[in-house]
């Protein structure tokens, strides 16, 4: 019947596309397998006040699983070996946060109790094929209360249906994929990062303000992460030209596949010939700072880099070419002398050191992200009157409070269920200086509730 025909049509459409595009097909294809990432209108919200009502969605709801007396058990999944094992550093930060909290006696929750935290770490080698069994282990065998700070968009996608159907919170995902904007259908997920799409809009806005006739060269990672930048930026440029009369133009675009085995050098070189005066590096991990080293001297564009390659560890790989790059920042950089006086930074450095982090980890900018995920979870527990799974999520989706952890002080933490599922929606624009710090070019602006709408 109807369904069958639809699928047959889809198959035909895809086959035609493949034939027509002869391999290069992503940009011309509108089919999106994840299917749900684009649906953002929240439509049928529950009539009841709370965002999640476990009596409706959860068959065998166990709201307090993982809480044993005064201990909350949480789990996390990350790559500890293999090519992506660098992200293990994020988990090191989360682990240090747990150590630190426990050494202070625990988190004082909204219900008046003080809870210690127990963290169970699993290793999926960044293979999303392994993540589901590990999530299952954490939930069913270890009986964790929530999953916190799990690494990888694909890895989190692999356990999304399972965790949502089991009504287990997945808090502070270590990814800003636009997939996490779908709290209507997946209310047990909340990202620990700002949306990649929102970040791209901050770049676009700043460019429109300062260089209304900018010619933009874009290098993006050819996966969920990079294409989020690419789509959002394209849309933002169009909107700015329509609404503000700018004449921004994307004059060159190159995708980079991190599994391809080459560097971005050829792509950068090619982009350098486009005459662009703005260069956007929508690339994460080590290839990001490497890309900076490939910019030829004959090309001096204003360069923007992804938030994922901030921090000392990444920037130190740029061989001095990091000076002058521009970034949208949502968090404090512990290595930035300008941020050194911030209370949150001081606190992180003292407590982190006490919890066993070394100087490289404290300043590196990767470990502090994990610390931030811990703070996120801690903040939710503090704000929840009754520490139950659904209540934690309801807290997460009705936040209205000042910044927590290492989030920049002027950023407002606001959420509102499916209408605004993003906790962190503010950035400042800053430029890397020669002292290993950042000079502020534009102060923090908050764009609460706009992340989903601004996605491409």
């Amino acid at each position: 019947m109807n369904l069958k025909w639809k699928r047959l049509a889809a198959l035909l459409a895809v086959m035609t596309l493949v034939a027509a595009a002869c391999g290069r097909d992503d940009s011309s294809s509108s089919s999106d397998d994840s299917g749900s990432s684009d649906t953002t209108d929240s439509g049928g919200d529950e009539a009841s006040g709370a965002f999640i009502d476990p009596s409706i969605d959860c068959a065998d709801y166990e709201g307090t699983a993982g809480i044993d007396g005064d201990t909350i058990k949480i789990g996390t999944i990350r790559p500890a070996d293999g090519p992506y094992a660098i992200y293990d550093q994020v988990t090191t930060g989360l682990d240090a946060w747990v150590t630190s909290v426990n050494s202070e006696g625990g988190i004082k929750a909204g219900d008046g109790n003080t809870y210690k935290v127990e963290l169970i770490k699993e290793n999926d080698s960044y293979d999303p094929g392994k993540t589901p069994a590990l999530a299952q282990k954490l939930v069913e065998q270890d009986g964790v209360f929530a999953i916190v700070g799990t690494i990888g968009t694909e890895n989190n996608l692999a356990i999304r249906d399972y965790l949502n159907d089991a009504c287990v919170p997945n808090i502070a995902l270590a990814t800003g994929s636009t997939n996490w904007g779908d709290a209507d259908q997946y209310p047990w997920y909340i990202s620990g990062l700002p949306s990649y799409a929102l970040e791209a809009n901050y770049w676009a806005d700043y460019i429109a303000d300062t260089k209304p006739e900018a010619k933009i060269a874009l290098l993006y990672q050819d996966d969920d992460f990079g294409t989020a930048y690419q789509k959002a930026l394209t849309k933002a440029v169009e909107r700015s030209n329509n609404d503000n009369g700018t004449t921004l133009e994307i004059v060159g675009e190159q995708g980079y596949n991190p599994l391809s085995g080459t560097t971005t050098e050829a792509a950068v070189t090619s982009l350098s010939q486009t005459g662009a005066d703005v260069f956007i590096v929508g690339i994460g991990g080590t290839p990001c700072p490497q890309t900076l080293t490939f910019i030829p001297e004959s090309w001096a564009p204003e360069t923007y880099i992804s938030v994922t390659c901030a921090g000392n560890t990444a920037m130190s790989l740029a061989g001095g070419k990091d000076v002058g790059v521009i970034q949208a920042q949502a968090t404090l950089d512990p290595a930035d002398p300008a941020d050194a006086d911030q209370e949150a930074v001081k606190e992180f450095k003292t407590k982190g050191a006490a919890a066993g982090l070394d100087e490289g980890q404290l300043d590196g900018g990767i470990t502090s992200v994990g610390w931030g995920f811990g703070s996120f979870f801690g903040m939710l527990v503090e704000n929840t009157d009754k520490v139950e799974r659904a209540d934690i999520m309801n807290t997460a989706f009705s936040l209205d409070q000042p910044a927590f952890g290492l989030v920049r002080p002027d950023i407002e933490i606001k959420t509102d269920g499916a209408a605004d599922p993003w906790a962190i929606e503010g950035f400042r624009i800053a430029q890397r200086n020669a002292d290993g710090g950042w000079d502020e070019l534009g102060p923090v602006k908050n764009r609460n509730g706009e992340s989903n709408e601004l996605a491409g």
Binding site: L11, V18, G44, A85, P128, A133, A158, Q185, G261
Partner: protein
């Protein structure tokens, strides 16, 4: 080739193993059961590789790619067509057969170390290929095994395909386990029949002495190509099982990197190349190290599993190149000959065919 194991031991052992295999999903948590399913997928893919590399002597360092092809083929068929799920695994096998034949053709001319080189490149190329055809495969984002259906949670239009047990009382993971077990047993029985048959003898004959084989009437080229195809098809079945049965609602290119190809080789060699049950034992060793022992290693050494497997592979190759099963058989044979007195010396009975050099 003929086993020296006494009959009572074979039947008794077999019955014991059967009981254990059936009891497992009732004794372990669901996540373990899912890991067992993954091990079975690896065992099946390794059995395919063993047919090619162990029995036929054609080296492949790229079977992870065929494993991946099988997984993607099954996943795409399930999400985009109405083909029944188990049938998609069969179609995936057929697709992999064709791919295997395509690789097998150049393998007629490219042998030994050079074939290893080419297949290595295939393994490395596979994730990039997935990326290249991203409209079909979902690219780096992975492919969600979701289909439009009624009654998905929270009014989602699509949700992951599910295996519902037609028999009451079985949990979802247990039912998937038994489906996987059934496919695995069938795959191993087929391979066992194959290697004990006329075809199996010709595979070994080609491996050990292709000229003698040809002179005995074996069509060496054809057999080698079909072996590549059949081996690929079996690896594809493993991949199809992985996509549909291991409880993961998505298929991702990062699950089919070069490392997977290497681990398949580890399973074959450590378990026992050119023994029927070897790949299963090897997959078990791999699984136990990665999923059971690895996570228990103390903090700093938690990521030592690859080193352990690498060293294990080398040691196995140096000390007992016939793998665990081969070693076991050797010990058995030794004990048997000690009982009957007189230990047979082991000499290689073949030398290469002569050429008179003018």
């Amino acid at each position: 080739m003929r086993s020296t194991t006494p009959n009572w031991l074979r039947w008794g052992g077999g019955a014991l193993i059967a009981v254990v295999l059936i009891a497992l999903p009732f004794q372990f948590e669901a996540f373990r059961v899912n890991q067992f399913i993954t091990w079975m997928c690896i065992a099946v893919a390794a059995a395919g590789l063993n047919l090619l590399t162990g029995y036929n002597g054609q080296i492949s360092v790229g079977h992870g790619a065929l494993y991946g092809l099988g997984a993607y083929a099954a996943a795409i068929l399930v999400t985009r067509t109405t083909v029944p799920m188990l049938l998609t695994i069969v179609i995936a096998a057929v697709i992999c057969f064709v791919a295997g034949v395509a690789i097998g053709l150049p393998a007629l001319r490219i042998k030994g170390l050079y074939l290893a080189l080419v297949t290595l490149a295939v393994a490395v190329l596979f994730p990039a290929l997935v990326e290249q055809f991203s409209s079909l495969t979902g690219g780096g984002r992975g492919l969600a095994l979701v289909v439009p259906q009624e009654g998905c949670p929270r009014g989602r239009p699509e949700c992951p395909v599910r295996w519902e047990s037609p028999f009451g009382g079985l949990e979802n993971d247990q039912w998937r386990y038994f489906l996987a077990l059934a496919i695995t047993v069938v795959a191993f029985v087929l391979v066992a029949n194959l290697v004990k048959s006329r075809v199996g003898r010709s595979l070994v004959a080609i491996r050990d002495n292709d000229i003698a084989a040809e002179s005995s009437g074996i069509n060496v080229s054809r057999t080698k190509i079909i072996t590549f195809g059949v081996s690929a098809a079996i690896a594809g079945v493993g991949g199809g099982m992985l996509a549909l049965l291991n409880g993961n609602p998505r298929v991702n290119p990062t699950s089919f990197t070069l490392l997977v190809s290497i681990y398949l080789l580890v399973a074959v060699v450590v378990g026992g190349a050119s023994t029927v049950i070897g790949p299963a034992i090897g997959a078990l060793v791999y699984g136990v190290f990665t999923d059971v022992i690895g996570p228990e290693l103390p903090g700093r050494f938690e990521n030592a599993t690859p080193v352990i497997l690498g060293v294990l592979l080398i040691i196995q190759m140096l000390v007992a190149p016939n793998g665990i099963v081969g070693q076991f058989k050797e010990i058995q044979a030794k004990m048997a000959s000690r009982r009957s007195g007189g230990a047979p010396e082991v000499h290689n009975g073949a030398t290469p065919v002569e050429r008179d050099t003018p």
